[in-house]
Structures are given as C-alpha cells and as structure tokens.
Symmetry: C2
Subunit: 479 residues, 2 copies
C-alpha cells in the first residue's frame, strides 16, 4: 500500500469510534422506521437512509486500516458487518491483516471467494502468508496463482514454518547491496526506489552467493563520507536469526538490543529475509496475552461480541478440568463427613485454609512462570527458589494462621481448634510454595508452556490438599 | 555510549549466563578452600583465585550492557553483587538502566555515593531521569550539578511528569532541521554528526519559534531528489503526543501505526522531545506484566532472589484482603451450620459450586479487563456484554450443573439434592457473569485500573455468593 492514511491520537480514535457507532445506530433507526408496516406515512425517506450510509462510508474511508480494524473490533457483530460492507474493498486486505484472529474469522465468513481473492491482490507474500491459515484453501490457491515465481517461493517458505517460529514472521521487502561499492553509490542506488520498505533502519550487505556479509545502518550511511566503502562502514558482528528459532526469543533480543530490524539467515549464512520491530511488538503482546488467557482458563483470544455458543466452546475445556478437580476436592471432604458431622465448625473454617493456599500458590507460580519466560531462571535454581518460597510460606502461615487461629478460638471457644487452624494454614502454604515451584519447572522440563493450566493445577492442589490437611489434623487432634 | 558491544542470540546469551555462573561457583569453592582452617595444605593457590576472578571480569567485559543486566537478574543476591563488583565501572550507568526496578535497588544499595555519581556521568538527561527515583537525593543533586543548563532543564521537565505519562519517557536526542532547505543540505548537515541518535527514522522540521512544522522520514530523504525542498518532502500530518498523555495510549498508537519514533509537543505545538519504539516496547511489556501481577495478587515486580522478608512484604496486602474475604465466606457457611449438621453432604458439595463460579468469573473478568485496556470496549456496551455473559453462564450452568447434579444424585441417592446442585451452579455462574462485567466497568468508571484486585474481588463474590445460594436453596428445599 502506498497511500498514507491519517494517523490519530488515542482520543481522536475513540471519537471516530463513537461517531461510527452513532451513525450505525441512526441507520438502524431509519431502517426500522422504513420497514414499519403500521406507520408507512412516517417511514423514513430512502434518501436519508442513503445519505447516512454515505456519511458512514466517507468516515470509514478517512481512517487508517489499523483504525478501521480497531473500530470493527469494538462493534457488535451485525454492526461490524455493516461497517465492513462499507469499507473500501481495496483496503479489505490491509484491514484483515490488522484485526485479531477471532474478528478476522467473522469477517472472512461473510466474504465471497472472489471478493477475498481481490482483497488479497494488494498484499505481499509475507502478508498473504499471515492470512492464509484463516482463508478457504481454494482462495489461497487462486491468490498464489497470481504471484510471480519468487513471491510464490517466499510464500511457501513462510507457510512451512510453525506460527511461533521466526520463519513465519519473515518479511522479504528489504534493500541489499554489495560490500565493494562506496556510500555515494549506495545513496544513488537508493534514490532509484520510489519508496523504501517500512522500518528500513539498515541495509543488508551480501556477496554474489547471497551470503550475509554485514549490515550498513542507515544512521551510519548518513554520517559517512560519500567515498567510504560499504565494507568499511558496515557492521560485521550482526545479531541474526534462524528461521526455526522461537519467535519469542527473537522478540526478547529486539527488546534487549533496541533493534528496529534484523536479518534472518539459513545455516549457511545466506540472507533469507528480515524481521522488523512491528512484528516483534505483536509477538510480545501476544505472548503476554496468551499467558494471561492461559492463567484465566480461556483457550484463546475471544471476539468480545462472539455468539454465545462460540464463547461457551472457548471456555469449555478449562471449566471441565476445573470441574474434575473440584469434584476430587469434594470427595476429599466426603471422606471426612463423619468428622464434620461431629464438629460442624470444620465446614465453615475449611474454605479459609484452601483459599489462602490458592492465593499464595498463585503468587508463587506467577513469579516462576514469568522468570522462566524471561529466561531469568534456570531449572537448576529450582531448589534454591523452593527453599526461599518455603521461608515465605512459613512466615505467612505463622502470621495469618495465627490471626485466623485466634479468631477461630474466640468464635468457637476452643484453643485446640485455633491451633489446628494455625498448623493447617502453615502446612497448606508450604504445600502451595512447593507446588508453585514444582508445577511450572516440571512443565518447562517436559517442554510445555509453563503458564498452561498452572493456575488450575495449583488451585486443585491447594484445595484438595488444604481440605485433607485441615480435616485430617482436626480428626486426629480434636475428635 | 559510543562503544558497541556484541549482541547475542538467545542461545548464546544463555551460554554466557551458564559460564558466568560456573565461574562464580568455582570462585566460591576456591574461597572456601582458601579459608578452611583444618586443611591449610590443600588450600587453593591465591593466584588461582585471582586468575578466576580475572576470567570472570573478562567474560563480563565482553557482554552488552543489556546482557550484563540479564545475567545479574538471573544470579542470586550474593553472586549478583560479586559480578556487579567485577563490571567495568564505566558501564555501571547503562547496566542500571537495563535492570528491573527490584534488581536496580539491590545494586544501588551496595554502591558508594561517589561510585554512583561517577556511574551517572555517562548518561543523558532522560536516562538520568529514569534512574533518579531510585537514587539517594544527594546523588541526584550532585549529578544534576554536572549537567549543562539545557540538560538540567530537560531533566527537570522529565521529572515533573508521572511515571505513566508520555512526558516521563521523552528523549531529547533528536535531529531538527528547517523547512526551507534542500534535501542535499540536510544530507550534508547530517554528515557533520559523529553519530545519529538511536532509532532515528525521522527528522523533525521546526520553525524559528521551535514549533513543529512536519517530519521528514529518513526513508523519504533517501529516495528524494537532492534538490527537493524539505517543505515538499516532509509529512505535515504527524501523530504527535502531549507530555501529559498516558504512556499506554502512546504505546498503542506505536503498535497500531508501526511507528519507530514520534514527536512530543506542548499545547502550542512546540517540539519538546520525542518518543522511541524501544521505550514503548518497555511500556507494553510493563503494562501486561502489571496486569498479570495484579491479577495474581503481587504488589509489584519482585526480584526472584529477594530476601524472604522483602517477598513477604510484596505479597502481604493481597493475602490480607484475601483473608478478610475468606473469613466473610466462612461466616456465610457458619450461618448455615444447622443445615450442614442435618445434611453433612452439603459440606462436601458446596466448594464445587463456589469453585466453578470463581473459575468462570475469572474468565469473564479477564476478557473485559483486556477489552477495556485495549480500548475495544466502551462503557456503554456493558449491558450488551452482560446479557451475552449471562447467556454463556446459563448454558454452562445447565450443562455442568446437570453433570454434577447427576453425580450428586447417584452419590447421595437424592434427586432433590441433585436439583438443588443444578440450580445453585446455574445461579452462581450467573452471579459470576454479572460481577465479572460489573467489577471492571465500575473500576474503569471510577478511574481506577480495572485489573487491580479484580480476581480477588470476583472470587470473594463467587465464594460467599456460591455458599449462600447453595446452602440457602438446600435449607429451603431439602430440610
């Protein structure tokens, strides 16, 4: 896309969103008036309907594709489809690139195959690759047929890598030069472009075989004497990535070294493409989003206005797991029904022991998950961190267990009940600390995402464990 | 800093970390041998000790400041301080900029005031401003005294804004030009720099009064004819930010428009400084981190190897709140002790109702918190989303409540107990949906962070509410 659309501040964007929403609402009212059989005489002028739609289309046409995407995300499904219908078809492709997966699905669903093929026409191979998994197979083939051979090769290369690998995020729009020319020549060469690719902060220096020899940063090019050779001005120690490296590792390197773009090379050192910071920002955003969603028990990003049944499906699996663990905890209590029947205060106090354990365990697990994700914690240090978390839990157990034990003593007039409460709290917090360190480190050792299910698992342990410890101690010492 | 240190891939960085850790371990063993009174003859050669330290220092000196920061984050406190001691003092400042707040504190604590002042010598005004809140007041004054007047003004400007505002993240290293010169002149002007500021993807065009007239992107400069005037080549519709805008809004604009840098202007339109994408990446990272930490009940980022007492303090407040809500839930149960004494199965079943409600409520709240944070949800849509979430909860309640009701019927042989279970599950899930939408929207309306405490509050509602609904229904219909 060569047309630049106006970029807007956050406030202005929210204003635009509000305006679009008001226009759509007015449209709905007009439509409603026009179709009311009982009041034909007050029916809205079809011209007013038409005029309103035009105004809406005009407003949308002024927006940047990323802003149209934002507006579409914030609209309920039927309004979203109306706005989508009014969006200039030549921008459909770039808008589809910007929306979230969930919303993208809802938009693609209502498009005809030929509309889709037309929308893809504007896109580069790497952009096409980003959309491909969500498109009907037939549409992808047709779009591929319109690419030239080089682009088709690029598309296939990108599609051959998993979503979470560097290769899937490669961009092929880059500027290559040779090392044996002067900066003057490079400047003249660049002037022959209509436009340089976005995020061009460095130019890649390759030899005849396509091997990466170094990079010439644009900042360096601009301050260099025109007669300097590229070979002298370029940097040869370059952070480069392999296409099968994890994308999150690359994103962390961008973050650490404040990179704007970086080369992707194969094992021979041949330049395949480049990564840019905008794609890495998306990786960082998605990574922390998916950690948060996983911790909350949502399978994946959900369209805010998804039909009820889609939301049910998305949340189904974690609720089912939670149900099993809750049922297990319930059976633990069931095993002590005899004790509870004798001392019914136990039923009231046991959720406190379980609840505090769950909260504390979630604190530990969140810390460990983050440290593992950031590469700050090595598996060999699990023992050391476990000892530290045990220390924290003993202190917390003594203090909070003491408080709640004292309250139990006052409420129920039994010192020994208070002492059992204190002991159970401390032991369950120690269990929470142990599992809080063990679960994510084990997950990592098994090559799984340490965030996945951690919260549900730790709560399962502290619930069942808490009930078992408290009711067990009570049965031993109180009855 | 003009020296470029080698940047490393993720694997290489982990290798470096491992090597540093092995060297430190060897050092500890040598020290131990050298001080063992019972085995003087096997005591390590002081030369070996010295040699090992040199090797460690050499390894550290090869690392990029961001990598030293990474290594320090991953080391336990005493090892971290040994490594910090061996770090070249001239790089102390840039390493301090890269470490997390918690680790920064631990490093600053062991530094003498004059070491600190020396470390700050290398830093720009905006970098100094970033460290200032963590430094002893006296050190800040001394460092300020060494700045020239312009820099002192910049430092004071940055310090006058809250942490979470654009103004606090401004950078003053930028290139300014006039509109009435040709691109050729600009290129010659740039060549007079030794080095252009990092992340320079655009040059700012100002008039005599310092007002921003437009920006000339470097990409445009490079493809423009040398005779073109800046006024013709520059873009005049520019996304710019005000210093008192929220930093997260700016970060979202960077994300939407794939920006690398953007101007910060005052209300008259005078150029104050610029924002760069590396600072915005940090904002995005911190924003999602703090959401995650808030949801988990951690007050702030915690040093993985913090002393036990610091960790206790960091987690104290949420645990205390949790204790109060758990105690309240316990009193709800206490009010039904009479019912439980009659039908002890209630004690075993009630945590299932509460647990599933909590899980489901957390799913809803996570969705709403994210949608609010991303500006995808307007407060006016709360009602619509609430109806949707109610629909989800009714379906889930019928299905899962049905399953667990059937199990309860089979286990305890009572149809009516199963029906009460079904009804209580459905009602508690509806409560979870209602509070899951209400809590974050209310928080937002009150101008608070919608993530803050959301998880603890929703769990409090679904626990107390779940116990009340289930035990209440059971008391009405079963006893």
């Amino acid at each position: 896309m060569t047309v630049a659309y106006k970029q807007q501040s956050a406030d202005r964007l929210q204003e635009s969103l509000g305006l679009v929403q008001r226009l759509i609402e007015r449209q709905r009212q007009l439509e409603h008036l026009a179709t009311r059989p009982d009041a034909v005489e007050t029916a809205a002028d079809p011209l007013a309907l038409q005029h309103n739609l035009q105004e809406l289309g005009h407003k949308l046409s002024q927006l940047h594709p990323a802003d149209i995407a934002h507006v579409l995300e914030a609209l309920p499904l039927e309004d979203r489809l109306l706005a989508w219908d009014l969006t200039d078809p030549s921008r459909d492709g770039s808008v589809l690139l910007e929306v979230s997966d969930a919303v993208r699905e809802s938009l693609i669903e209502v498009m005809e195959p030929d509309e889709l093929v037309a929308a893809l026409d504007e896109l580069d191979a790497d952009e096409l690759a980003e959309l491909a998994p969500d498109l009907p197979r037939q549409v992808v083939y047709e779009a591929m047929g319109r690419l030239d051979e080089e682009e088709r090769g690029q598309l296939q290369a990108v599609l051959s890598y998993d979503d979470d690998r560097v290769g899937a995020l490669m961009d092929f729009e880059l500027v290559k030069i040779r090392a044996d020319v002067s900066c003057e020549v490079v400047l003249r060469y660049l002037r022959r472009f209509d436009e340089l690719p976005g995020q061009t902060d460095k130019i890649f220096v390759t030899d005849e075989a396509g091997l990466l020899k170094g990079v010439l940063s644009v900042r360096k090019l601009l301050v260099s004497d025109p007669d300097t050779l590229v070979a002298e001005a370029m940097a040869t120690e370059v952070v480069s990535f392999h296409p099968d490296e994890p994308a999150v590792d690359a994103a962390q390197a961008f973050e650490r070294y404040d990179l704007v773009s970086a080369p992707v090379v194969d094992e021979r050192g041949a330049l395949l493409g480049r990564l840019t910071v905008d794609a890495m920002v998306d990786v960082i955003r998605e990574e922390s989003d998916s950690e948060m969603l996983n911790l909350a028990g949502l399978k994946e990003e959900e369209d805010l206005f998804a039909p009820v049944i889609d939301s049910v499906k998305n949340r189904w699996s974690w609720l089912a797991i939670n149900l099993c663990t809750a049922f297990f905890a319930s059976r633990v209590i069931g095993a002590f029904e005899h004790s509870i029947a004798q001392l019914v205060a136990l039923a009231a106090l046991m959720p406190i022991v379980a609840g505090i354990g769950g909260n504390s365990g979630n604190q530990t697990i969140t810390m460990i998950v983050r440290a593992l994700a950031m590469g700050q914690m090595q598996l060999g240090q699990a023992g050391r961190l476990w000892r530290k978390e045990l220390g924290v839990s003993v202190i917390n157990g003594m203090v909070w267990g003491g408080v709640i034990g004292a309250v139990a003593w006052l409420l129920y007039g039994s010192v020994s009940l208070g002492l059992v409460m204190l002991a159970a709290m401390t032991l369950n917090l120690m269990l929470a600390a142990t599992m809080g360190v063990m679960i994510p480190t084990l997950m990592q050792k098994l090559g799984k995402d340490p965030a996945l299910g951690s919260s549900v698992l730790i709560t399962a342990c502290t619930d069942s464990g808490g009930f078992l410890i408290f009711l067990g101690l009570a049965t031993l010492f109180l009855l």
